[in-house]
Assembly symmetry: C2
Homo-oligomer: 222 residues x 2
């Protein structure tokens, strides 16, 4: 059987798919790990289902790289240190912190995917990035659980708000690291945004959406 000819991917797109794929793979591992500490079987089921959805995203991204003639491992390798670094520096201390991490992380990732998809030419890669936007169910689950917890003990809200802020801070530090090291990917974002002012506006949109998510949780955004 001869494979259909596949379009070549440019280095920036390979980087983009690599960082998304490794992001999904690590999200899968961390969610599945956190599921072990779920207080009830229903909570465990919810977190494990989200983890399985992240794995499916990873599998699709990885398969797309492979079918385009790119070794997924090679594409992911530059992003192992920043993504592992993010997770190693932000181990949740309890079940609620796990939920916030899933919600904040998934929210930022989804917003980022949506922004980036607009920069890609129409075609399979763009479709795939848009597919991974599909809600994995974190949002409504997290909102319900956090509201339950803060209704029981209002003092929890301050701690969780600080935790969410720390997560965003650590994510920005690692994103900065990636931006410095990966010229092609940075070029894609700058080119897609128009210029550096465009990148600043993109970051501002991401921050606004994060603030809206914090409000949905009933937490102070800063």
């Amino acid at each position: 059987m001869t494979a259909a000819p596949t379009p070549q991917l440019d280095p920036a797109t390979v980087d983009l798919l690599g960082v998304l794929a490794y992001g999904e793979l690590t999200a899968f591992e961390r969610l599945a790990t956190d599921a072990r500490f779920a207080p009830t079987i229903a909570d465990k089921h919810a977190l494990a289902s989200m983890a399985a959805a992240e794995f499916e995203h990873y599998r699709c991204l990885s398969e797309h790289l492979r079918s385009s003639g790119v070794d997924p491992e090679e594409a992911m390798r530059p992003f192992v240190a920043p993504l592992d670094g993010f997770h190693d520096l932000t181990p949740p201390n309890d079940w609620l912190e796990s939920i916030i991490k899933a919600y904040v992380g998934d929210g930022l990732a989804t917003d980022f995917y949506r922004e980036v998809a607009a920069f890609l030419p129409e075609g399979r890669t763009r479709e795939l990035v848009l597919d991974t936007l599909a809600d994995t169910g974190q949002a409504s689950f997290a909102v319900a659980k956090v509201h339950e917890a803060t209704a029981r003990d209002p003092a929890v809200a301050g701690r969780l708000a600080l935790w969410a802020r720390r997560l965003v801070g650590e994510a920005l530090i690692q994103a900065q690291r990636v931006a410095v090291e990966r010229d092609a990917l940075t070029g894609l974002l700058v080119g897609g945004s128009g210029d550096l002012a465009g990148v600043a506006r993109l970051l501002s949109r991401l921050t606004d959406n994060h603030t809206a998510r914090m409000k949905a949780l009933g937490l102070q955004p800063s």
Copy 2:
């Protein structure tokens, strides 16, 4: 839409599906957790893929219970303590121990599924149990990795053989606990095997298969 009438499940079958479902769910969590410590992205990919396959098994079993009018949480609850107990008492100390645990655990589970399927009446439940027999890829991956490791350092073989023996010992202790507490399930196994001598022969077949797996790994079975 009115659902098609679903056959009622007897208590022994509910127990069986409950223990299988929670077994798959915990296998998923532990494999996914162990994937974090994989030395290469390829190893991580392999373990995460196995974990995702276990989750899919869990999802099918859980869905079958629900569509038969049984709350999956209720069905799994009696098996939380023995299965969590098994995993809490057998945390792998390194990557190779994780692989052995996946291989030994999956092998025992698969053998057990095959034996039990023979006791079930023909129908959806039996098909489902047979479906979960599908190889999740542990076997060839584990055999390759363990052979690589023992070729590099033959001294590793003794430690891994002891580890495998401990896993089987702990699994038997928990199985014994389940047998004492769950009369209906035990009845299904004894009835299906014919009598207690039949159960002894079943255990002996499970042990023989375990020994064969240890040999495939190049490890002393005892």
